[in-house]
């Protein structure tokens, strides 16, 4: 007689899996990667390769020898962390610093909490902030785009955000803006910045792909970009000499990369649509506060890490709309 499996329903599954989702995000990063290679050439290739390989290696070593669990280093999540870490580093950063960043990202950001699914903070951002604090000079010298064959020897300059931050104390924002790349160039990524964050259009293409594949929902990117636009827009309307055009804020720095890829990290973002909107709006507001009133020209990384910390709280108090009114049981 045939042996039948008896188990509770459902008896069919969607076939969705963690690797499928992770590799989906990786695919969506390819346009931005291509553009970055176009601008930063060999530096981007070296930084990305080192970052991805070392993230995979550290994940494997820690799982196998320290946690002593079955390694899942190829489920795509370590590759994704490696890619995102590389994307938010300058393309001329020495490779050994990248290795330290990868160790911080995987070791401190992810594995100390128990690995995928348990970390509170976005691992790639943990790696970036670790490097930012440890090597402030290397982390704020940005290669000029177009130097294909230069790596650590590339000519460097300041990012538009840094120029703006220093400039507005003395001159009107509009004047500084007129000396910078046009909005079209900012949209295309032809400026100084972290290797993968520059090309807004390529990141937006990646977002469309993720939305189409339903890997992410619209809530987080839209609420971050929307709140930054509204907040900086209000400031700009109040005093256009002191505050830059909101479009400038959307297209520069790590905002697009942060809003589309860092803040949408599954593990560290809220579970409900409403929670995501609050989280996103908070990130947007804190980003602007740091950019305009804080010590650093760019604040997305800190804003996201801060709201990563709020995520458990949001999950506890922000509930989805339940079906049906609650009536007294009994």
């Amino acid at each position: 007689m045939t042996r039948l499996i008896v188990s509770p329903s459902p008896h069919t599954y969607s076939g969705e899996s963690v690797p499928r989702l992770m590799y989906g995000v990786i695919i969506s990063l390819l346009p931005a990667f291509g553009v970055s290679v176009f601008y930063f050439g060999i530096g981007m290739l070296i930084v990305t390769t080192v970052s991805v390989l070392t993230c995979i290696l550290f994940e494997y070593l820690i799982q196998k020898y320290i946690l002593q669990t079955k390694p899942s280093h190829l489920d795509g999540s370590a590759i994704l962390t490696g890619l995102l870490l590389a994307f938010c580093l300058p393309a001329n950063i020495p490779f050994w610093m990248v290795i330290i960043g990868a160790l911080a990202a995987i070791g401190i950001g992810k594995m100390t909490f128990g690995g995928l699914g348990n970390n509170i903070f976005n691992p790639a951002l943990v790696g970036r902030v670790f490097l930012f604090i440890s090597f402030p000079v290397a982390m704020t010298s940005w290669p000029e785009p177009g130097q294909w064959m230069q790596y650590t020897d590339a000519a460097t300059g300041a990012t538009p955000l840094a120029l703006m931050k220093e400039g507005v104390a003395m001159r009107p924002a509009g004047e500084i803006l007129s000396e910078m790349p046009s909005f079209l160039n900012l949209f295309l990524g032809n400026m100084m910045g972290s290797s993968g964050e520059v090309a807004a259009f390529a990141l937006l293409i990646g977002m469309c792909y993720m939305l189409y594949r339903r890997i992410i929902t619209w809530h987080i990117p839209v609420s971050i970009l929307g709140s930054v636009f509204i907040f900086t827009g209000i400031l700009w309307l109040v005093n256009p000499d002191q505050f830059a055009n909101p479009l400038f804020h959307l297209l520069t720095g790590g905002l697009m990369l942060g809003a589309i890829y860092m803040a949408t990290d599954y593990v560290t973002s809220p579970m409900t649509g409403k929670g995501m909107l609050i989280y996103g709006a908070g990130i947007g507001v804190v980003t602007v506060l740091i950019r305009i009133f804080g010590a650093y020209p760019e604040g997305v990384q800190f804003a996201i890490l801060i709201f990563n910390g709020f995520t458990p709280l949001l999950n506890k108090y922000i509930k989805p709309k339940r079906f049906g009114k609650e009536v007294a049981h009994g």
Partner: protein, 447 residues
């Protein structure tokens, strides 16, 4: 199908592959097996009381077990022959329960049953008589829940039924028995709907059908033209056949937590139930047979059979081409909410809408890994719950918290487990939580 704006429910839902392999297959009358086993608890509620003894001769349609109390139903012989045993038999739920075994001999029916094919349109009985006839005929919800139909026909004091909703959604993958009924028995269904409207005392009825059955939508539209019954096409989305989701989709009314459709003025019946009501009221025929889809990817002839209650499942599978080599599970019902059978020797009961054979490939559960909080389970939950949280709470045995998170609202549609990329057994843990919370609620009442 005339062009029509399709409706659907707003919250959650998934779209599993439809796999309606037996769609368009005519309903085939299945010859009875040699022996049938008729369980005495085929419905939600108190088991019925057996009134025959071993050795008795019974006719088709003869009462063999009587309802015990209000939430219970009559059970009739589905074949003629000799009662060979009144004993404990395994049923489709896997439990061993009291049943009546009958050795088939000929096909002699109770004389009062109208076996002719003529359609009786005139509804001569009044509401009270309709209800009585439905009690006598032992009709239960044929969509799978098997709740006694006469209970739903009795509107509780203080409530008022305004709409009858007829459920022709058949949102479970694979199943086609309701589709087949709508195609072949549309005239009888029309009368059946009118009977139910009269029984409930409502003026309006809506028949909801998903748009993957355009032929059924046109057929039913045509036949209901000029009546108070409207036919509404629905976007294909699971679990639209759930009562609460269907009421929401058709009328935009939300049944309150812990409530029933009647709380928002609606009573929902499945098309199979309506058809059974037609036969009971107009033909005096008790519920002794039903349409069952027998299907599966590797089954030779996926079919819609008219089957006598009590026929062993193995007989159905043989008649559909035999059990394929690659069969991992045999499901009583659909693949999303049905129950896996432990044995093929169990009988078809009133609630058996389909027998679905699931291959190893489909049945395989992948290894469970950590929740990555992708939010998919929250997005697909049609009740607005947080399945990931429920599982965490159940693992930690935090059942009071599960209650405040409204775990009892869960309709067990399985969308969360279906969709989880980490293959987490979300619904399994939710069921555990529901059982524990139900215990808590009972113990509070007892104090």
């Amino acid at each position: 199908m005339r062009s029509m704006k399709l409706k659907t429910f707003s919250m959650g839902g998934v779209h599993p592959p439809e796999n309606k392999l037996s769609a368009g297959r005519e309903i085939r009358e299945l010859s009875p097996s040699d022996v049938v086993v008729i369980p005495v608890s085929q419905h939600l509620g108190t088991p019925s009381k057996v009134i025959v003894e071993r050795g008795d001769q019974v006719k088709v349609g003869q009462l063999i077990a009587r309802a015990e109390g209000f939430v219970s139903t009559n059970i009739h012989a589905s074949v003629s022959g000799k009662v060979s045993k009144v004993d404990i038999f395994p049923d489709s739920s896997g439990y061993r329960r009291l049943a009546v075994q009958i050795k088939v001999n000929g096909d002699e029916w109770v004389e009062t049953i109208d076996r002719s094919g003529t359609l009786v349109k005139e509804i001569s009985l009044d509401a009270e008589e309709i209800r009585k006839r439905i009690v006598e005929a032992g009709i239960v919800g044929l969509g799978g829940a098997t709740f006694p139909t006469h209970v739903k026909l009795t509107t509780p004091r203080g409530k008022k039924a305004e709409y009858l909703i007829v459920n022709g959604v058949e949102c479970e993958p694979y199943l086609t028995s309701d589709h087949a009924l709508m195609m072949e028995r549309s005239s009888a269904l029309l009368v059946g709907i009118q009977i139910m409207m009269k029984g409930l005392g409502v003026e309006k009825a809506i028949l909801g059908i998903e748009s993957n059955k355009p032929d059924a939508i046109s057929r039913m539209q045509e036949i209901t033209r000029g009546t108070a019954i409207s036919v509404q096409g629905l976007k294909v989305k699971y679990p639209q056949g759930g009562e609460k989701q269907l009421v929401k989709a058709l009328l935009n009314r939300e049944v309150p937590s812990g409530g029933l459709p009647i709380d928002v003025g609606v009573v929902v019946f499945n098309v199979g139930t309506v058809h059974a009501a037609y036969e009971a009221v107009q033909k005096n025929k008790p519920l002794i047979e039903r349409v069952v889809t027998v299907t599966g990817k590797y089954l030779k002839q996926p079919s819609n059979f008219r089957v006598r209650i009590g026929t062993p499942v193995s007989h159905l599978i043989e008649q559909a081409g035999g059990l394929p080599e690659d069969t991992a599970k045999v499901i009583n019902g659909g693949p999303m909410m049905g129950k896996a059978l432990a044995s093929l020797d169990v009988p078809v009961v009133k609630g058996t809408s389909g027998i679905v054979l699931i291959s190893n490939e489909e049945a395989r559960r992948k290894a469970v890994i950590q929740c990555i909080r992708c939010t998919r389970c929250v997005q697909v939950c049609p009740m607005g719950l947080e399945p990931y949280l429920m599982m965490n709470l159940a693992e930690k045995e935090m059942f009071e918290r599960m209650e405040t998170e409204r775990v009892l609202d869960c309709i067990e549609c399985g969308s969360c487990s279906y969709t989880c990329p980490s293959s987490r057994p979300l619904l399994d843990y939710i069921r555990l939580g529901k059982a524990e919370v139900a215990k808590l609620v009972r113990s509070r009442k007892a104090v």
